[in-house]
């Protein structure tokens, strides 16, 4: 039915990872919630440090690739001390089912959480028929 699943990590092109490394050292797979309702499917993806201009969504052959470029949070005039988390770009790919309309994808980012709404295709919506008494 509605198969929205992440691709195995190996399917990400290696060369692309290498070219991305010029911008920042690491590539992270962001944590994602996938929620389905009557109207479609929503992805909620945690991308701290990514602003709305730095998100890239690409849909090719039903594979939705989401990339986020992190602006360094290094404060001006400070040197790096103790370190618990790493900074890097985010990338994750999802395969969309036929039931979702790829042409009406809506995305917005708020407080570092990207929300991608994939509406259900018109033809996939359930139709209710009334049964008349004879």
């Amino acid at each position: 039915m509605f198969e929205v699943e992440s691709l195995p990590q190996e399917s990400a092109p290696k060369s692309e990872c290498a070219s991305d490394s010029a911008r920042s050292a690491r590539l992270y797979r962001p944590l994602t919630d996938i929620i389905e309702s009557d109207d479609g499917v929503e992805l909620r993806i945690e991308m701290p440090g990514v602003s709305s201009e730095d998100v890239e969504l690409e849909l090719a052959r039903r594979v939705l690739t989401i990339k986020g470029h992190v602006q360094s949070t290094k404060p001006e005039g400070f040197t790096r001390g103790y370190w618990e988390y790493g900074e890097g770009d985010y990338e994750r790919a999802f395969t969309l089912s036929e039931d979702l309309d790829g042409s009406r994808i809506d995305a917005q980012i708020c407080d570092g959480v990207l929300s991608v709404v994939l509406p259900r295709a018109e033809r996939a919506k359930a139709h209710r028929m009334a049964v008349k008494a004879a």
């Binding site: 919630d33 929620i35 389905e36 701290p48 949070t73 370190w83 988390y85 407080d111």
Partner: protein
């Protein structure tokens, strides 16, 4: 060191390694993870807090301790929703960071940008090292 055979015959062959690693990591790290930056009289702390409303973050400063706490509120869901995948976590959090000098609460600045919290704390004026001039007798 000798381990009884039963240790290895469990379903998870890496449980020993995992337990060892867990012992190591649990005490020192907690959500949210923080990075520390320093300069002469200031320390900056950055923490990733995606999905947290900046208004929900409380920051307090006392002596040399900086505490920040808040809540990751679970999103409101329309009725009849189906979860396909759930990786994000929600709930209250609190983190204390000890800074190697006494802090000036009036000069503490904090901002949240794209889900990353940044707090800059200043060293107390009385705490700063003073240069003493040496006079010739």
């Amino acid at each position: 060191m000798l381990y009884p055979a039963s240790t290895f015959l469990r379903r998870d062959p890496f449980s020993l390694v995992r337990r060892f690693h867990g012992d190591f990591a649990n005490g020192t790290r907690g959500y949210p993870f923080v990075n520390l930056w320093h300069s002469q009289d200031r320390v900056a702390i950055t923490a990733e807090v995606p999905g947290v409303d900046p208004a929900d973050i409380d920051i307090s400063v006392k002596d040399n301790l900086l505490v920040f706490s808040g809540e990751r509120k679970a999103d409101t869901m329309p009725e009849k929703t189906l979860w396909h995948q759930r990786e994000r976590n929600f709930g209250k959090f609190s983190r204390a960071v000890r800074i190697p000098f006494n802090l000036d609460p009036d000069k503490t600045e904090a901002r949240v940008r794209n889900g990353v919290l940044e707090v800059v704390v200043h060293r107390r004026e009385e705490d700063k090292p003073r240069r003493i001039e040496v006079k010739a007798a």
